[in-house]
């Protein structure tokens, strides 16, 4: 098997509080191969973004990585500090943020920002960097890139700005891109374009993508594989088609049932009863058991099985049975 670009094993993030230690990310494992898009879904607070931030080393205190390993291109990066960390994450990881309004510096032209990023990573002259900047704007479909390069972010529309952000993430030729809800702030017609663009560029360049979203539509559109997270844990992990059509974890079943489908013609959506437990109120058993329609006694007392990166698809005692 080809070595994956990003390999996360048993990643655990902890936030110590006065009363207890919270675990927004709990023993999470997954791989992303070159050119592959891994969609990470889950509701708010499931630990999606926290996982992304842990990978790029941008956790804000007091949150910290308490366990597990993160490997990028065969190099272990979770223990790097200071300059070494800056080098690795800057050079090999690009990030597309949720809100294109705030992810560009309002007082610098987009050209200045692209050139800054390029020059930090690649040892090229100013003119060459500007050249590359224009090319990368062309690539993300900004018309008249050579003229627009001296424009300020506020002179672009939301969708165009998100294209600039993608250009910014791609211009240093990273091997991994973390896209944290890249389309949430955009309207639907633009969403599709941005997702298609991200998908095309990554497949062309062989960039691995971690696509964090809560939108099942986006996952269905773009992801090769899907990771479903619930209460900081990996609930299900598998090829997108399989997870979407034959979900194995009761939570994924519920999630799919609550996604509106134009073709289904249903009048009411199913919804999962209750809400996700707060991190300080987790029960000893499976975190989903209080809401799970299939939950049995075992689910409520025994810690749920941990999902490894390869073996098995769902972290559920009943995985096989639920599917039927």
């Amino acid at each position: 098997m080809v070595e994956p670009v990003l390999s996360v094993r048993g990643l655990t993030v902890e936030i110590p509080t006065r009363h207890s230690v919270l675990r927004p990310v709990d023993t999470v494992s997954f791989d992303i191969a070159a050119g592959e898009i891994l969609g990470v879904v889950g509701e708010s607070g499931a630990g999606k973004s926290m996982t992304g931030n842990a990978v790029i080393g941008l956790l804000d205190r007091p949150a910290h990585i308490a366990g597990g390993e993160i490997w990028l291109n065969g190099e272990r990066i979770d223990q790097l500090k200071g300059d070494a960390l800056r080098q690795v994450r800057g050079k090999h990881i690009g990030m597309v943020f949720q809100d294109p309004l705030t992810s560009l510096n309002p007082l610098l032209t987009i050209g200045q920002q692209l050139v800054e990023t390029i020059q930090v990573h690649l040892d090229v002259s100013g003119a060459e960097a500007k050249n590359r900047a224009v090319n990368s704007l062309n690539e993300v479909g900004i018309p008249a890139a050579a003229e627009r390069i001296d424009a300020y972010p506020h002179q672009f529309s939301g969708g165009m700005r998100q294209r600039v952000v993608i250009a910014l993430a791609l211009c240093a030729e990273p091997s991994l891109i973390i896209a944290d809800e890249p389309t949430t702030a955009l309207d639907v017609s633009v969403q599709a374009q941005i997702i298609a663009l991200l998908k095309r560029l990554c497949h062309e360049r062989g960039t691995a993508v971690m696509l964090i979203t809560h939108d099942m539509g986006v996952i269905a559109e773009a992801a090769d594989r899907v990771a479903v997270m619930y209460a900081g844990r990996m609930a299900e992990l598998g090829p997108a088609r399989e997870v979407l059509t034959k979900p194995a974890h009761p939570y994924t079943v519920g999630l799919m049932g609550s996604t509106p489908l134009a073709s289904a013609g249903k009048e009411r959506l199913n919804q999962i009863e209750g809400s996700m437990p707060r991190l300080d109120e987790l029960q000893p058993g499976c975190a989903f058991s209080p809401r799970c329609p299939y939950a049995q006694h075992k689910c409520r007392i025994e810690p749920r099985p941990t999902l490894e990166a390869h073996e098995g698809r769902a972290a559920c005692w009943l995985a096989g049975e639920v599917a039927e």
């Binding site: 790029i56 941008l58 205190r61 800056r86 080098q87 994450r89 800057g90 050079k91 990881i93 690009g94 990030m95 943020f97 949720q98 809100d99 705030t102 992810s103 560009l104 510096n105 309002p106 007082l107 610098l108 920002q113 800054e116 990023t117 930090v120 990573h121 910014l168 240093a172």
Partner: protein, 304 residues
């Protein structure tokens, strides 16, 4: 040319052109600053040149010929026979110089500390901001007098008059940095969590570079407003200190020193010696302040 016409069409310029208060204030400020800068050429007399002084001219009333020399002084003369108009022009030089330099000093100190406090957080922030809080509990003028007193104690006696101006600048600057630090820290806390700062951290820029290149320009507009209003306050603070006799020495009289000299003659009928420096101080401080008010509104996107 193109940049000029763009500047003319900008919101900022539009707001200026439609605010009579701003136009008049700027006019007054420019008039006063220019006449202070050009004092050696504009002033009819040099009040610091003892050779040009004639004691016979003392206490000449404004616009009336002197009883002995028949000379006419627009704004009269003081006890030494110095032309009040000229002393005002020269005095403004000192007042403006102290004001500008003190604000610049406060600005650099406050913005630096505020940026560091906001960006670094933790103990650094706590230490800086608590020092600022403690200083805020003392009236600014008291802090300035304290610093002035200490400086006076440690500088050699023969240097005192030369050092006085610089001590004044440091005293006013040190009593004024807190508001810069507070505002910049607040703005930095907001900017720091925006994604472009995260992005800059991600691509590997060092904290210093992020603070200077990305955060600083984005927190400067409130700083500009505070600096303008601080300028008015610094000029008044300088006048207050000089009035109290702890500021500019009589050899280099500022507006405050002139007012102090003049108040001795107020009740013996020589009202012009104090009135004209006081009016100048008022006009200067008021117009700078009004300009600052307008700037605050013009730079506030919520009030557009």
């Amino acid at each position: 040319m193109e940049a000029l016409s763009r500047a003319w069409r900008s919101d900022f310029s539009w707001s200026f052109r439609h605010s009579p208060v701003a136009i008049i204030s700027l006019g007054v400020v420019l008039l006063l600053v220019l006449s202070a800068l050009l004092a050696p050429w504009v002033a009819p007399h040099n009040p610091f040149d003892p050779a040009s002084l004639n004691l016979m001219n003392g206490f000449t009333r404004p616009m009336e010929p002197n009883a002995f020399t028949q000379e006419i002084f627009w704004l009269g003369t003081d006890d030494q026979g110095r032309d009040v108009f000229s002393t005002i022009l020269y005095g403004m030089r000192i007042s403006l110089f102290v004001g500008f330099t003190a604000v610049l000093f406060a600005l650099i100190l406050g913005v630096t500390l505020g940026l560091i406090a906001g960006y670094a957080g933790g103990w650094t922030e706590t230490t800086i901001m608590r020092v600022a809080d403690v200083q805020l509990t003392f009236p600014a003028i008291l802090v300035a007098m304290l610093i002035f007193g200490i400086a006076k104690g440690i500088t050699p006696v023969d240097m005192r008059d030369e050092m006085a101006i610089w001590v004044l600048i440091i005293a006013i600057g040190l009593s004024d940095w807190v508001q810069f630090a507070r505002v910049v820290r607040g703005a930095t806390l907001v900017e720091k969590n925006k994604e472009y700062v995260q992005a800059a951290r991600l691509i590997g820029r060092k904290p210093g570079a992020i603070m200077l290149r990305h955060i600083l320009p984005n927190v400067m507009s409130p700083v500009l407003v505070i600096a303008t209003i601080s300028l008015a306050l610094a000029i008044i603070a300088e006048a207050t200190l000089s009035f109290l006799g702890v500021g500019a020495p009589p050899t280099q009289p500022s507006l405050g020193t002139l007012i102090r000299i003049g108040q001795g003659y107020l009740f013996s009928g020589e009202w012009w010696i104090i009135l004209f420096p006081a009016i100048t101080l008022l006009a200067l401080a008021l117009s700078v302040n009004l300009l600052g008010d307008w700037l605050r509104d013009a730079l506030n996107p919520k009030l557009r």
